[in-house]
């Protein structure tokens, strides 16, 4: 087993070294992030090459079956791939809600036609997806959603409004929660897929406290959806919706940990602004606060690793995605508050020449981080889920 893994590691390393372009081994600036899709933008031509090479071997979705565009790797092999990519500092070739959110539930709940139609396009970055969940009246209480989906014989007709639809104006397709029965709450929701180019779809970007954002309001007026685009059972969407939310929580927790824009780790910033002359953090109270943060970060990282190993060993415990979503996002917010304290007023610039690009980035990212514990289920909802599902506390 481990000998095979060692071989796999050696092969992977050699392949990455030969095929990952040099510029793909540098930190990923936001404007070079590749989201794929019909309107794909490659600000660095190497990004396109890198995506194609990885996709050709199924490595954009390493654990998916080969038939659906993956590489069919085991969890251990996928871990080796991650480690080797991290060792070489390889960028992820593709950022994709299709990979992070839709793919896992489509693999489980989609029919064969749906899997063969959608998964390979996700793996290759050909179709970019967005998520139609929240509505103006359905935030934390997501199941209160009202977007109607009526059976019109040979097709469905969708009418309603979504909000906080990330990248709705950039996406090609949407996975969308709709109401197919108004007489029951959770049991009247279905999970449908449709093309954002359909007639009757309109998107409007939302400006946040941090400035321009990826979020949109999305309006549906008499949108025709082919019936084969229903995933799972009619009125059986809530189960799929909840499972997808777990993937989303995991994704947000992970993003919170690993990106945060291009802002360096808190200890690096603390040393930059508070150097004691010997390369250490000069302010004793902030040094303690930074240390506390860094230690919690490490314990959190170990917990994610433990959960992955437990899952691999078939010992998965419930409620962990809520814990990761809660802790990861709160930790990310705490990181930015700590960075503001260390960098002082230089981290509070909105625009202009008095601040470096990195400092302006800190300020915007700090503001944006406030949304981490709201989107994808608020921190309060995550704690409710832990209390109920893990601890069994009564309603």
């Amino acid at each position: 087993m481990s000998a095979t893994l060692d071989e796999f590691r050696a092969e992977t390393r050699a392949w990455l070294e030969a095929n990952c372009p040099a510029s793909m081994r540098t930190p990923l600036p936001d404007d070079e992030r590749v989201w794929g899709g019909r309107k794909a933008v490659f600000n660095n031509p190497d990004s396109k090459l890198w995506l194609e090479r990885m996709a050709e071997r199924g490595l954009t979705v390493p654990t998916w079956p080969r038939a659906y565009g993956g590489a069919g790797l085991s969890a251990d092999e996928a871990q080796v791939l991650r480690e080797e990519m991290s060792r070489l500092k390889c960028r992820q070739p593709l950022s994709s809600f299709g990979i992070w959110m839709l793919g896992p539930v489509l693999l489980k709940y989609g029919n064969e036609d749906q899997k063969r139609e959608h998964l390979p396009k996700i793996a290759r970055g050909e179709i970019r997806w967005c998520q139609g969940y929240s509505e103006p009246g359905a935030g934390s209480d997501l199941a209160a959603l009202k977007t109607r989906c009526e059976d019109r014989g040979d097709h469905y007709l969708v009418n309603g409004q979504k909000i906080w639809t990330s990248y709705a104006d950039q996406a090609d397709w949407i996975f969308c929660l709709v109401r197919t029965d108004t007489t029951v709450k959770h049991g009247g929701i279905s999970f449908v897929l449709f093309d954002m180019a359909s007639e009757g779809v309109e998107t409007r970007p939302i400006t946040l406290i941090s400035g321009a954002s990826v979020f949109c309001e999305t309006f549906f007026t008499d949108v025709r959806v082919p019936k084969e685009n229903l995933v799972g059972e009619l009125n059986g969407g809530w189960t799929i919706a909840k499972e997808l939310l777990q993937h989303e929580r995991g994704m947000i927790a992970e993003i919170g940990r690993t990106v945060g824009g291009t802002v360096p780790p808190v200890d690096v910033i603390a040393k930059r602004y508070l150097d004691d002359g010997a390369g250490r953090i000069g302010d004793p109270l902030l040094r303690d606060a930074v240390t506390r943060h860094v230690m919690n970060d490490r314990a959190f990282g170990l917990t994610m690793r433990r959960a992955a190993q437990e899952s691999e060993a078939g010992m998965a415990s419930g409620g962990v995605s809520s814990m990761f979503k809660y802790y990861g996002t709160e930790q990310n917010k705490a990181k930015f508050e700590l960075i503001l304290k260390c960098a002082g007023t230089q981290a509070l610039g909105w625009e202009g020449d008095g601040f470096s690009a990195g400092e302006l980035d800190i300020c915007r990212t700090w503001l944006r981080s406030k949304g981490n514990s709201i989107e994808g289920g608020t921190s309060e909802i995550q704690l409710n889920v832990i209390a109920k599902r893990v601890l069994g506390l009564p309603d």
């Binding site: 250490r280 303690d288 240390t291 959190f300 690793r305 433990r306």
Partner: protein, 379 residues
């Protein structure tokens, strides 16, 4: 790094929990306290533990040990932590045995280790001299005297010293008061002339004592390990102690937490279970998160110790720091959420609070380990 238990470790964990639940439940500690037990632990139980291999859990088989490693011992300690079981597991199995193993000569191994593994020899590390853990702040002096040494100084919070067969005394043979260089370990029979042991009555009802060394005369064969250079050995064993104690504390925290959650489901006010109140649910869920992080840190440290991981010092400090923070949080919340009954001596939850604070101070509290982690990581 392996953060899950293997089959053998899971069996050990289950067996240990059954043993402590059955043989040394929390009521056993209460009885030791109320009886003012002279020994401070149940000797028969300690022998049973030795028979199961726990006294020599870290020792290789050639010395009569069970060689389960730190991860194995961690499982036993976590189980013991759940019932607040008093025993020489920490003083002897976790600290004394690996220190003698790491530092001792073949002759010292033969003289002590089989007896330790058999449960016939309790060891006590006489280290700290102040009320807060400061392992290199050593004023106790050992001066050469002919072929041997004379020891003078005073130690505090020496676990199990009053029932120990041998003390392992950390003394200064060279260097300044806070230097890590110049420290030497000495094996001192507890009944040596000039050794004065005064039991400390601590709030957790567990064993600790002050040890005063009045010009104690020792032969050259009392030296354990290299002269002046005990620090690396000592620090490594202390890191094992920190990780192992963190495992015990994790068990204590987990048990206090589970008892509290059970109480939230049971206790009714305003006609409903108080666990239905969101304010209390959220506090419980926060504790759950901290316990999970602590468990990961503890497993990582134990795994690093067994695997000879280079980062063992930082991981041991991470484990002990998280264990201290989480145990403080959970035991304080446990008393609060139990309400008035939590303040009574009759209810057991208070015993968890009392044990918690002593364990927090043992081998360095959260502040000590944050400071150490920052230094180790160059922050």
């Amino acid at each position: 790094m392996n953060l899950v238990l293997n089959e053998e470790e899971r069996i050990l964990r289950r067996g240990a929990q059954e043993y402590f639940n059955e043989r040394l439940p929390v009521s056993a500690l209460r009885k030791l306290r109320d009886d003012d037990d002279a020994n401070g632990f149940d000797s028969a139980a300690w022998r049973e533990m030795a028979d199961m291999g726990w006294a020599g859990v870290l020792l290789p088989e050639e010395h009569g040990g069970a060689a389960f490693g730190y991860k194995g011992l961690g499982q036993v300690l976590e189980a013991a932590g759940r019932t607040l079981a008093a025993s020489p597991l920490v003083s002897t199995a976790l600290v004394g045995a690996p220190l003698v193993l790491a530092a001792g000569s073949a002759k010292q191994h033969a003289a002590l280790l089989p007896a330790v593994a058999a449960g016939d020899c309790v060891l006590a590390l006489a280290l700290d001299e102040q009320s807060r853990h400061a392992p290199s702040t050593i004023a106790t002096r050992a001066t050469s005297d002919g072929g041997g040494y004379r020891l003078t100084g005073s130690k505090t919070f020496v676990l199990d010293a009053h029932v120990a067969d041998h003390l392992i005394v950390v003394a200064r043979t060279a260097g300044d008061a806070n230097a890590t260089d110049g420290l030497t370990l000495f094996l001192v029979p507890q009944d040596s002339r000039g050794v004065e042991v005064a039991r400390m009555r601590l709030v957790d009802s567990r064993n600790a004592a002050r040890v005063t060394l009045h010009d104690v005369a020792l032969g050259a064969d009392a030296v354990l390990g290299p002269v002046d250079e005990a620090w690396p050995l000592l620090e490594r064993v202390l890191d094992g102690a920190r990780a192992g104690l963190a495992a015990e504390m994790l068990g204590t925290a987990q048990e206090a937490f589970e008892r509290t959650v059970a109480y939230l489901k049971l206790r009714e006010q305003f006609g409903v279970a108080i666990g239905s109140f969101q304010a209390l649910k959220h506090r419980a869920a926060l504790m759950f998160c901290e316990l999970e992080l602590t468990r990961s840190a503890v497993l990582a440290a134990l795994d690093a110790l067994d695997g000879g991981h280079e980062d063992v010092a930082a991981l041991a400090s991470l484990a002990k720091c998280k264990a201290c923070e989480t145990l403080e949080l959970v035991t304080s919340e446990a008393v609060q959420l139990h309400g008035g009954i939590g303040m009574t001596d009759a209810e057991e939850i208070g015993l968890f609070l009392k044990r918690a604070r002593v364990a927090q101070q043992t081998f360095g509290d959260a502040a000590f380990h944050r400071q150490r982690y920052a230094d180790l990581q160059g922050l």
